[in-house]
């Protein structure tokens, strides 16, 4: 499994500001990649493209060699996004949040909940939290729930947008470990966009963006 970005350009429609220019990068299964860069360098834009939130202005985005054209399907079947604000349904319980993609895929409710529980357990969420609303959980716990939901959606690519931005050191390390586990043991492609060098350095491959151009990569 591989996500390839070839000669990617991105220009914001109304401002005509070129954010990404001829960007070439490839993300492969079993790896954790980090993307760093100064503010305005285009790292968030790159994340939006990989997440399927917006269309590129030029170039090609290939998933397993095929051009990604239907972004709705791509987001539903291929990519999962973890954000700094966790992006959990605020009025659904932890269990309902994780069950959601399974039910969307047509799983019966009971089966979806069973699977959701397994996934929650796998990211270290105790069952006493299952019936709680996300706001009752700590930041680290909420982020784990978000990861469990990505897993429930069977996302091949997990894109994390500043995933540890709101977390303390212990929780940060816990989340990094989960990402590593997902990549190394479950063959997921994990892409982390961060400004935190410590987090970036945990990745297998580190990319650095400058003024819309990928200027360096460091493979550990």
């Amino acid at each position: 499994m591989k996500l390839e970005l070839k000669d990617i350009d991105f220009v914001y429609p109304k401002s005509d500001r070129i954010v990404l220019r001829g960007l070439n990068v490839s993300f492969e299964e079993g790896t954790v990649s980090s993307i760093r860069g100064d503010s305005g360098a285009g790292k968030s834009t790159l994340l939006y493209l990989i997440s399927g939130f917006s269309k590129k202005s030029g170039g090609q985005m290939l998933w397993n060699g095929e051009e990604v054209t239907d972004l709705d399907t791509y987001r539903r079947t291929t990519v999962g996004t973890i954000s700094q604000s966790y992006l959990l349904f605020p009025t659904r319980t932890v269990l309902e949040n994780v069950s959601y993609p399974l039910i969307l895929d047509g799983y019966p409710k009971e089966e979806a909940e069973k699977r959701a529980k397994e996934l929650l357990e796998s990211v270290g969420i105790e069952d006493i939290h299952y019936k709680k609303l996300p706001e009752k959980l700590s930041g680290g716990e909420q982020q784990r729930v978000a990861i469990a939901r990505c897993l429930a959606a069977n996302s091949k690519i997990i894109v994390a947008d500043e995933p540890t931005g709101n977390l303390d050191q212990t929780n940060t390390q816990g989340i990094i470990n989960i990402f590593k586990d997902l990549a190394h043991n479950q063959n997921k492609i994990v892409v982390i966009v961060t400004h935190d060098p410590a987090v970036a350095e945990e990745a297998d491959i580190q990319y650095f963006l400058k003024e819309g151009v990928l200027v360096s990569s460091l493979e550990q």
Binding site: Y48, S54, D72, T73, L87, T91, R92, D161
Partner: protein, 401 residues
Amino acid sequence: MFYKRIFRKPLKLIVLVLLVFGGIGMLGQIHQEIRTGKIDLKNISENTEIKCKLYSPIRMGYFSQIPAYIADRVGKLKEIENIYVESEVPVMVDKSNFIKAVITDGEGIVVTAISTGDIDEFAKRNGAIINMEEKYKESFKEEETICIVSEVTAKTFDLKVGDTFSCFLADGARLPFEEIPRVPLKVVGTFTVDPKNSSLEARELEKEDINYLILPQKLMFSREGIMHSVNVEEIWWNYRVYDFNIKKKYNMQFIEVEDKIEEIIDDYTALQSSSREFYKALKPLEKKIKLQENLYITIKFLLIALITVLAYFISRGEKDEILIRLIFGEKRRKILLSTWISIGSIFLIVIAGAYGLMTIFFTIDPYLIVQLIGIPIICSLIVVFMIIRQDLLKLYQSKEE
């Protein structure tokens, strides 16, 4: 799922329920009071008679008579009823057409004689029905030896048309009996009173204990002594006041009705009406109803505005839900429909439920529910639509910021 979720964070739902129940209850109470007030107003209106009078005001010390055609035209207005001559008071009139005197026969029986030169005019003014040949009508200007007797008089003296009798004309005690002129009179007709005529004059002519004669004008004025017996300054005619009322169903339009009457009457006729008193009685009630109507509109406006604001916030609160569903690739149309149905049905259930419950206690304007439900539902549709039509990236960025 939405109903479960709204109960998990029930603050907005509680506010909605309180607002809707309180608001509809309050509006129901006011609406009921307005309705009761209107019924009271209707009852007062339907049970009050606005009485009107037509009369001639005194001008420069002179009274004018209301022409009969004016009363007639007023009487034909569909808005008025029961027009009749309420009262007549004697006033001075032109002496040339009508005088009175007293005559007595040899037996000392007193009858009242009325003199006229125009028998038709006499009949018209007095509501009399004359029974005589046409050829004698003109004679009343020149003849001195004919007369018409009332039917009561004819019966008293056993007189018939064609009979001749003698009588003395006298003015009471002014002349000695031997000096009173003696006049032979031929009966050329009789008269009676129209039973529909209720004027004082007509009623007077109908009295059974008074005998009347109608004499030609010339007889009265040509005989010396007779003229002197009549004090022309005391010749009177009747001043009439017409009474009528506005039909009760037109009471509330009394201003228009009075305008119509004013258009009919002339400069010498005045209209007096009890509409002012009627209005005075209605005004406090009308004022109360008006105040309640204003209050009703204000509260309704506030209630709709608050429900709409709440609909906005409830719909806006779905932004995260919509964003996540979009991220997971759900179709926008599906999200729009399901979100809108969920929010719309909440408003429908709460408002229709509150409305239905409140109708047990109050009479509520049926259109209220349409406005209360329609406006917030449309608002929520617009808000949800505006969220969904946004670019996913912008939606995501606004969340992250």
